[in-house]
Amino acid sequence: MKTVRIGCGAGFSGDRVEPAVELATQGDLDYLVFECLAERTIALAQQAKARDPREGYDPLLVRRMESVLPACIERGVRVITNMGAANPTAAADRVMRLAGELGIRDLSIGTVIGDDVLDLVKHGDFVIAETGQHVAMLQDRLVSANAYIGAEPIAHALAGGADIVITGRSADPSLFVAPLAYEFNWRFDDWSALGRGTLVGHLLECAGQVTGGYFADPGRKDVDDLSRLGFPIAEVSEDEGEADAIVITKVPGSGGRVTTATCKEQLLYEVHNPAAYVTPDAVADFSRVRVAEIAADRVTVEGATGRARPDLLKVSLGYRDGYIGEGQISYAGAGAVARARLAGEIVMQRLRRTGVAADAIRCDLVGIDALHGARVSNDSRGPRCEPYEVRLRLVGRAATFEEAQRIGQEVEALYTNGPAGGGGASANTREVLSVASTFVPRALVPCTTRIQVV
């Protein structure tokens, strides 16, 4: 019976590099997928492309490719990635050049384009899902609009012989659905099969998050060797009737662990209704999935199905949305919390007194209430105990860089103007790239696949 082995070599743009090398050399893989594109990442990439038309792909593209390509070519492992970000064509050109530098011959690179729908949404009548306002209202603040595209064009590239497929805003699970659909000849209206493929993709797309990353809680959920965490492999076989048709595992001897618990946490990660996980390929149903450990670091997942894919594609909109200014300063020893509170009040008064117009402002005490707010962080008697040290964090959003910058400046001025013993002040100001979404009819987003050969 045919089995396909897919590894995931990155779960976000900044992920570790070496686990993918381990997968390429020791994973006995058919496919190696890199998922590197978050909602905000593509908006940043569009800004980079606007500055230089040869840019706009993932900054680690070359580093990741040069570290795995020799092993992948030698072993016949095909690579699929959304590291094309805002500029898959430029990314493909760069990988072609890299292949030449590495002396690789007869390499076929597939590029999927068509997800960039900025012109369409700028000039069409589309509504922002979160606010109900028209997309046109964003005017020139809108910097990116990318439709989440599905597995079909990637599968076409594979059928066309591509050794490497580079996309822009593909839906994360689709990067994994594509090789399964291609290998098993799934039709793109076989919703049940596509639902199972989506489960595989969903479990793998965050890489180490299913092999023991983002899981450890010492004493309760111990995980060994997180500094050399192994990234996941899915073994998928043709026969959906078999309980072990999908096995999640990792390279033997690598760090981390694959257990029913790690798989359950990732199964529900960023999921709302488990019976309706919407992707461009299908509406997957994870509500009747079962997991079982059949051996050490080998877990089966079965029971996923699917229903017909949506007619509308989700579009991620990136837009400039003012600036955030922030300042921090620490206090230690007896009375530290009271001094930090006083410091926060002083800065708030200063910002009012000097007329800084912030849309929103927030004052946290890191170590006391910064993560979950005063109500959840305290019991009925107030803070559970006084920490030895505490850090004031004052942050606000403003329309201009200059006003946002004033927030950090006021925190730094606490050195000579604020409470006793403040130390380690820092300040930063950044532009906000907000993300919203809209929906466009699938027919308006034709994708094309281009194949180049070195």
């Binding site: 309760r220 709302h272 509500s287 707010g373 109500r375």
Partner: protein, 104 residues
């Protein structure tokens, strides 16, 4: 005792909506989660952090609940002023929930 004694959790965000899964370490504790950790109780626990509804999904085959929390006060991840803009640490807050001891 606290929820963290019988369950583990993971949270993730999509805009202003955050989900927190709650998974029993042992399947025998799933009925307790079902009984004790209602959507109302979770909404109450997160007062001040969310303004909208809490929807609970039940997954008996894996001994898990999935809570979807609407209307994060901190706003969506890209423009939030919060230190943890994603709300990824909310799983730890849910596990702090006090529950009756084993005997109950």
């Amino acid at each position: 005792m606290k929820l963290r004694d019988i369950a583990h959790a993971r949270s993730g965000d999509k805009g202003t909506i955050v989900n927190v899964s709650l998974i029993a370490f042992a399947d025998r504790d799933y009925p307790r989660l079902l009984r004790l950790v209602t959507a109302d109780r979770v909404k109450q626990h997160f007062t001040g952090l969310i303004t909208g509804d809490v929807v609970r999904y039940e997954l008996p085959l894996i001994g898990a609940l999935n809570f979807v929390l609407h209307g994060r006060v901190d706003g969506d991840v890209t423009r939030s002023l919060a230190l943890d803009a994603h709300g990824k640490s909310l799983s730890a807050a849910l596990l702090e929930l006090e529950i009756p001891d084993d005997a109950a």
